[in-house]
Amino acid sequence: MASLSNKIRQYVEAEVDFKKDVLLQDDRIAGVSKPYIKEWNLDIAKPTDAQLDALEDEANAKEALNTILNNRRKAYPTIADQLDDIYHNGIDGWKATIKLTKDKYPK
C-alpha cells in the first residue's frame, strides 16, 4: 500500500514540504495506524479520500522507483573511487563500472 505522503506528492505533482505545506499525523487510536491530513496549507484544494485512493497505483510505482534509486545510490562507488576509475580506465571504463549497479537494480 502506498504511503499517504507519496499519494499527496502524486496529487500535487510536485515535491511537498511536509513540515509546513502539509502536515500528516497518525494518532494510532486503539493501536491502529491510520495516517490522515492534519493540516493542508497549499493553494490547491485538499484532496478527498477518493482522489487519493485513485493515486494508489501511481504512488506505488513511484515508491518502487525510489527504492531502486536508493539501492543504486547505496551500491555506487564513492565519488573518490569513481574519479579514480575515470583516471585509470577512462570514461568507458567508468561507465562499465556504473552499469554493473544499474543492471543489478533495473528500473
Partner: protein, 231 residues
C-alpha cells in the same frame, strides 16, 4: 541580699566576667529583653517554654558564611525542597510499529520503569496526565531505524493536549541515515487535572518507505519520561 540595682557590671580585674556557677539558672523574665550587640557563643539554644522556637522577625536576614556547614538530621520544611513527583519513565519494549514516511505518529511506550503516582497510561493512550499542578520537565528519545540507509530526517515531538508543543529534528542532508536517536525535551505547565502530553515521532525517507521505531526489552532505546520541577 535579694536585689541589686546597678547600671553596669564590670570585671573586678582583667577583662573576664563570670555570672553564676555550674548548676545555676540565670533567668530573664517575660517582658524583659536581653540585648547582646556582639557575638554570642553557646552550645545549644532551646525554647524557654513549650517546643516552638522563633529565630528573628520578618525581614531579618541570617547569613551562613562561606565555609560553614548546616547539618540537618530532622525534618526541614519551607526551604523550597521536596520530591520531584509525580514522575514516570516508560519505554518501547519491542519494535512493532511501522512509522509511515513524513507522518507524525504517536509512539506507544508500553513498559514502565516507574510511575510514582499512576499518572502515565501505558495501556491505551500512552499519555502522561499529572495530578499535581506545576511545571514539569518532559523528555523523550526515539531510536528510529530503517535498515535501508534511506533516512533524510528524523524527529521527535511533544504534544500537549493533542497540539504540537515543540519539534526537534535531525537532518542527515545527503548522507542518509540508517538509524538514529531523535531527542526532544521541554518544560511544560500542567493544570494538575486535564492537561496531558504525548510523544510523536516522524521520519522522512528518500524512498518513501516506512521506518521502524526501535524497541528492546532489556536496553532502553526509545523512552518517554517526565518529572515535576520544584519551584
Amino acid at each position: 541580699m535579694s536585689k541589686i540595682e546597678v547600671d553596669k557590671v564590670d570585671p573586678q580585674s582583667g577583662t573576664a566576667l563570670e555570672i553564676g556557677t555550674s548548676g545555676d539558672t540565670i533567668t530573664v523574665p517575660t517582658g524583659a529583653g536581653l540585648t547582646v550587640v556582639d557575638e554570642v557563643k553557646t552550645n545549644k539554644i532551646s525554647p524557654a517554654t513549650g517546643v516552638a522556637f522563633a529565630l528573628g522577625d520578618s525581614g531579618d536576614t541570617f547569613t551562613i558564611p562561606s565555609g560553614a556547614t548546616i547539618v540537618n538530621s530532622g525534618t526541614a520544611t519551607g526551604f523550597g525542597g521536596g520530591t520531584n513527583t509525580p514522575a514516570f519513565e516508560a519505554y518501547v519494549a519491542a519494535s512493532t510499529t511501522a512509522l509511515p514516511d513524513n507522518t507524525a505518529q504517536k509512539i506507544e511506550f508500553d513498559t514502565e520503569v516507574y510511575d510514582t503516582d499512576g499518572c502515565y497510561d501505558k495501556d491505551t493512550n500512552y499519555r502522561f496526565t499529572p495530578t499535581t499542578a506545576g511545571k514539569y520537565f518532559v523528555y523523550s528519545y526515539l531510536y528510529l531505524d530503517s535498515n535501508a540507509d534511506n533516512m533524510k530526517e528524523i524527529g521527535a515531538r511533544i504534544y500537549k493536549n493533542g497540539a504540537e508543543e515543540n519539534r526537534m529534528l535531525i537532518n542527515f542532508d545527503s548522507g542518509y541515515g540508517e538509524g538514529g536517536s531523535a531527542i526532544t525535551f521541554s518544560t511544560i505547565d500542567f493544570n494538575g487535572s486535564s492537561d496531558y502530553v504525548e510523544i510523536y515521532g516522524i521520519v522522512d525517507t528518500v524512498d518513501n518507505n516506512d521506518a521502524e521505531i526501535y524497541g528492546d526489552s532489556s536496553d532502553r532505546y526509545t523512552v518517554f519520561g517526565a518529572y515535576r520541577i520544584i519551584t
